[in-house]
Symmetry: C2
Subunit: 390 residues, 2 copies
Amino acid sequence: MKTRILFAFIMMAFISLEANAQQALWGAPGIVSPEVKEDRTVTFRFQAPEAKEVKISGDWMPAQGWTPGSEVMTKDDKGVWSYTTNALESDLYSYSFLVDGTKTTDPNNVYLIRDVATVVNVFIVGGGKADLYQVNKVPHGSVTRRWYDSPGNDKTRRITIYTPAGYETSREKYPVLYLLHGMGGDEEAWIALGRTAQILDNLIAQGKAKPMIVVMTNGNVAQEAAPGESSLGMYKPSFQLPNTMDGKFEETFGDVIQFVEGNYRVIAEKKGRAIAGLSMGGYHSLHISRFYPNTFDYVGLFSAAIIPDAKMTSKVYADFDETLKKQMQNGYKLYWIGIGKTDFLFKFNEEYRAKLDGMGMKYTYVETEGGHTWTNWRVYLSQYVPLLFK
Amino acid sequence: MKTRILFAFIMMAFISLEANAQQALWGAPGIVSPEVKEDRTVTFRFQAPEAKEVKISGDWMPAQGWTPGSEVMTKDDKGVWSYTTNALESDLYSYSFLVDGTKTTDPNNVYLIRDVATVVNVFIVGGGKADLYQVNKVPHGSVTRRWYDSPGNDKTRRITIYTPAGYETSREKYPVLYLLHGMGGDEEAWIALGRTAQILDNLIAQGKAKPMIVVMTNGNVAQEAAPGESSLGMYKPSFQLPNTMDGKFEETFGDVIQFVEGNYRVIAEKKGRAIAGLSMGGYHSLHISRFYPNTFDYVGLFSAAIIPDAKMTSKVYADFDETLKKQMQNGYKLYWIGIGKTDFLFKFNEEYRAKLDGMGMKYTYVETEGGHTWTNWRVYLSQYVPLLFK
């Protein structure tokens, strides 16, 4: 009996330690925010009794030019501001609060994702396409952060690798998708913002995609790793880095392939290799698949930053038309182009498609609503992956 | 030439996209916060022109009872509040801002760590013990999140595994440290707050620790995975969960060992196994090493929540003295106990040591300043790991 009382005492000490620390720091242990409801409306709550005005800015709200949309929240008599959306389409959304003009995160939502130098709260509305972005009761793959040698960059570099459920205990060889991020991103972008592990787990479990390894590189060859993950320490990330679109990444991509094929049980043949990327990563995918013109059977350009021959100084961009023709003649199974109608890169993609049409190079084209957004890139990934390795 | 102009145009579009989005949402793209200086003082900056008072609350400030310490910041004529610390001891620190009483994160610092239901900004002051917590130019291990079968819990469960640099290409067998979190934690706690990968990378590179695998479990058997990583979705985490200290985790720990020894190249013998944990994880380590009394040569109790025989209903807590004696008689190389002088669990550890003294069971005892904090647990890990597998 004595030990039970002792146990109860300790539990109380623990709980009060937590509750009080929470109380003091957060002020609102009882608040639930966001509350995603059955009818797909979402309620946000934020305690700020002293604030004159609290707004919420969410990526589902229409932007005014460069200014993200925002809505004023309503304050109750306890100083809690709240706001409820209309029913939202199924997706992964991000938002921030603006307290008298100063942006803040939601202290009641621990789910945050960094996009370049910005950290925002996220939530998922299910019941549609975002069911693929959720962790469901299906077999789960493994996600590994490891380091590989890149002699071409004279660096050891960090890389994120998804291996599908069953890989570790199987004796089969697996195909590989190389999945590249956009400007400002790194080896954390696709796994965090792109929900790659969840999308792959779910598509594989549904029988819609072949089990495959997904390799998420860091396309900024000036970096060893994502901000905070290298010996540069915890610095403020910047959007543009040197040597991102000058051919160096494409030229040294062989280091990545060599590492993957030397360290994983993979189908080390063209038919077992796919490459895709968003924005800058689409540009990289275009040029890597051209520069190594008989290496990939599957190419995906998601809202690609297509700027042909931009820097003639790199050998990667030399002989553009000739190497593209070579790639075409060598053959491939899929050349997939996806872009949103309002994307600022739309017309460059249009020009590129005209070029492909002119030379008779076949491609699959998907045009969606929307612009240069992760909302679209998750959809493109969900559409592209089922087409691979069939 | 034309393509260069095109390229420049695209780059400008990209940069303005980012700069404007940043500008609009964050209001302060030029601000650096925190700025950790050579002399180990740290300056924080926060733009909030409309706020009446902005405070900073940091874990280096003395608390007032349960209330964390805080200091008022100073506003300049541009509406930027700032505060500079005295020289800080080398450590990993966390902090928040309090804007007219409402807690917020630092929008200029993208480095955040979740502790239970609280997300705080972090930074590192080097030049001392925290040099072990930084990513340095040394060979890096891999960190994998994967899932294992736990038949004892009728679940597939998520687990975090650190394998040291060289593991993948070696043919050697490695020893394993099972590292357990405290109440409110999960399989993300040690890798995020504990800086396990950095501490291990650095100690191994310095020749102070043997290369070893570190297995970070989720000690809450009611959970499949950390909040946001299971099919429960993105819910608000809670501190106390059912079945955390009722014997179920200890009883089913064999599932973890079986998974690790079946899937990794390890020394599957007592001499190749260590276990350690903080707080509730210390309690788990005590009971697991007793319940499997001839399994671990190394046991570490960090600020352990030692509550002997608390729940007699589980077979795990039966025959406490007898199984402990058995463990002693079977022999072991290290039984390490560390606790801070002001820890609220201090006297329970004192009583436990008296018990061990009484039965003649040898242990190594380290008493430090401070209390029940991650500051201490990182230190204990840094001290414990070099003693293993020698």
